[in-house]
């Protein structure tokens, strides 16, 4: 079965999620991956959205972080203060998802500005929950498409901290969580290299070449010694994902055209 780069990215992310994970879910690919996992390999996974909805199980993907569907299918919904204090800072989240406008090789993330902070070329939305998702989630999974504009050698602003300049810098700063343990893109799976903590490619998706990889990444890519054999998305995974997206489109389309 053929699939799009977005589809293999979402399926890949879903495969890493486990039944005992408690995920702090963001809108877009992370939300699709988490809900796909819930519908396939990890039916008991716990999903939390930063709007305060705990143990939520949306039947369709939310368009915003605070859709009514998230609340009405949740076990309970708490205040913003409680969400960030008891659940995120409290260390209850096993996997926090982040995306980025800019990412560097040590998993540091910029979603704040392109250019200078005080006179930016492009003012981006900013961090929102991300600075603390990066430091308080037991692990961070980054999901984003590769492109030379976003995979850069130097990010313009440290919105969310990964491994800083690498090595033990994260631990030296007193941060006790693991940081970015996975980078899932539309082309490959990346993991931090032991010791240096530079992200390295551990698996290429079927058909992806090293040339293609380097064209979309602004630093010399490091590859693991033995790349894993990557199993392409199964028919079942793709069908469930497409079905979820179709339901989502129908649900949101219906409301909009009513």
């Amino acid at each position: 079965m053929t699939y799009s780069p977005y589809e293999i990215m979402v399926v890949s992310a879903a495969r890493f999620l486990k039944n005992d994970d408690v995920c702090f879910v963001g809108i877009g690919a992370p939300s699709a991956a988490c809900n796909l996992a819930k519908l396939t390999s990890a039916p008991n996974i716990t999903l939390i959205y930063e709007s305060g909805t705990i143990n939520t199980a949306p039947k369709v993907l939310p368009l915003s972080i605070g859709d009514g569907e998230l609340c009405s299918t949740a076990l309970t919904t708490v205040s913003g203060v409680e969400m960030f204090n008891y659940w995120l800072q409290g260390g209850r989240i096993t996997v926090g998802f982040l995306g980025a406008a800019q990412l560097d090789r040590f998993g540091n993330i910029n979603t704040t500005v392109i250019g200078n902070y005080n006179k930016p070329k492009v003012r981006l939305p900013g961090g929102g929950g991300a600075p603390e998702i990066a430091s308080h989630s037991k692990q961070v999974y980054i999901i984003m498409k590769q492109s030379p504009r976003s995979f850069v050698s130097k990010i313009d602003f440290f919105t969310s901290y990964g491994f800083g300049k690498g090595g033990s810098e994260r631990i030296d700063k007193g941060i006790t969580t693991k940081g970015p343990q996975l980078l899932i893109t539309d082309k490959a799976i990346w993991k931090p290299t032991p010791q240096s903590n530079e992200l390295q490619v551990v698996a290429l998706y079927p058909g992806v070449t090293r040339e293609e990889m380097q064209d979309t990444v602004g630093w010399p890519i490091k590859y693991a010694k033995n790349l894993e054999e990557y199993v392409p998305p199964s028919k079942h995974e793709l069908e469930v994902l497409r079905d979820l997206q179709e339901r989502t489109k129908l649900a949101h389309g219906k409301k909009e055209s009513n």
Binding site: L63, L70, S79, G128, G164
Partner: protein, 282 residues
């Protein structure tokens, strides 16, 4: 003790140019009608606080009535960037915008500190992040017990906080239900809390531990059905996603923006909101 007032009276009596105002609501229950009334009221030089500025602040910034913005995520949720805010920050149009930027965690705690009459909030925050280097309102303090360093941010104490809620009872007690965000904290942090509601009922009929704000902690209540549109009110009407998508186009052009604001805000009154949500009621 609160009073029931038309929205225009509530806004005119409580806001003035230079006021520090928070319009809160996290995706859900965003007080759009009150924001539009604020634009019509002619006040300017506002300092606005809001975790997620959203389309509501994009409109106020684009109209040039905002002097300073305190925020933690300036996006059009699920859509993209806020183009009027970008134009103000990047190009000073229609005028320069001063910004004070935090993370969500810090800002939620700042409201809580305000509601608790504390001068600051502490959190484990901004670790390794650059925001602490560009915002002098983020400091660090040392824990006298553990020796650890924590982030400290000043309490948010707006002159006026404005929220939208599902309902008030006839005594003016207000129920907020569903995704409750920081509405209670924002309301209690302010000198004056203004509330718009979908309806007034005899009895809130709520759960013992529901999020209820007693009438004596509220300055004014205005009944504005649909007042959260294009945001939503759980149990009343759904989020108008297409309006959020359209905003991306409208806001991308200064003229299109100005025309839209004239037609849809300046020439309107709060009554239009009931119309706008008709097709979204469940």
């Amino acid at each position: 003790m609160t009073k029931f007032q038309p929205l225009s009276t509530a806004i005119n009596e409580n806001l003035e140019s230079g006021s520090f105002v928070a319009f809160e609501g996290f995706t859900h229950l965003i007080p759009y009608a009150a924001a539009h009334e604020t634009i019509r009221s002619g006040v300017k030089d506002l300092t606005l606080a809001r975790m997620t500025p959203d389309v509501i602040y994009d409109q106020m910034i684009g109209m040039g009535i905002v002097k300073k913005l305190i925020f933690s995520y300036a996006g059009n949720p699920g859509v993209g960037l806020l183009r009027r805010l970008r134009d103000a920050v990047e190009n000073d149009w229609p005028k320069p915008l001063e910004i004070e930027e935090h993370s969500h965690a810090a800002m939620a705690n700042s409201y809580e500190a305000g509601a608790s009459n504390l001068p600051m909030a502490i959190l484990r925050g901004y670790q390794g992040a650059d925001l602490i280097n560009v915002n002098p309102r983020i400091k660090t303090i040392e824990c006298p017990f553990s020796g650890e360093y924590l982030a400290a941010v000043p309490a948010l104490k707006p002159d006026v906080s404005i929220i939208h809620a599902q309902k008030a009872d006839i005594n003016g007690n207000v129920l907020v239900e569903g995704i409750i965000g920081v509405q209670k904290q924002a309301a209690l942090a302010a000198d004056k809390a203004l509330v718009t509601v979908e309806e007034v009922v005899l009895d809130l009929g709520s759960h013992p531990n529901a999020c209820v704000i007693p009438s004596w902690a509220i300055s004014s209540i205005s009944v504005v059905p649909g007042g959260a549109h294009p945001s939503y009110a759980q149990g009343y009407y759904e989020r108008d996603n297409s309006t959020y998508l359209e905003w991306d186009k409208i806001s991308s052009d200064r003229n299109a923006f100005s025309e839209w604001m004239q037609t849809n805000v300046l020439d309107q009154s709060p009554e239009i909101f009931a119309e706008r949500v008709k097709h979204l009621r469940e």
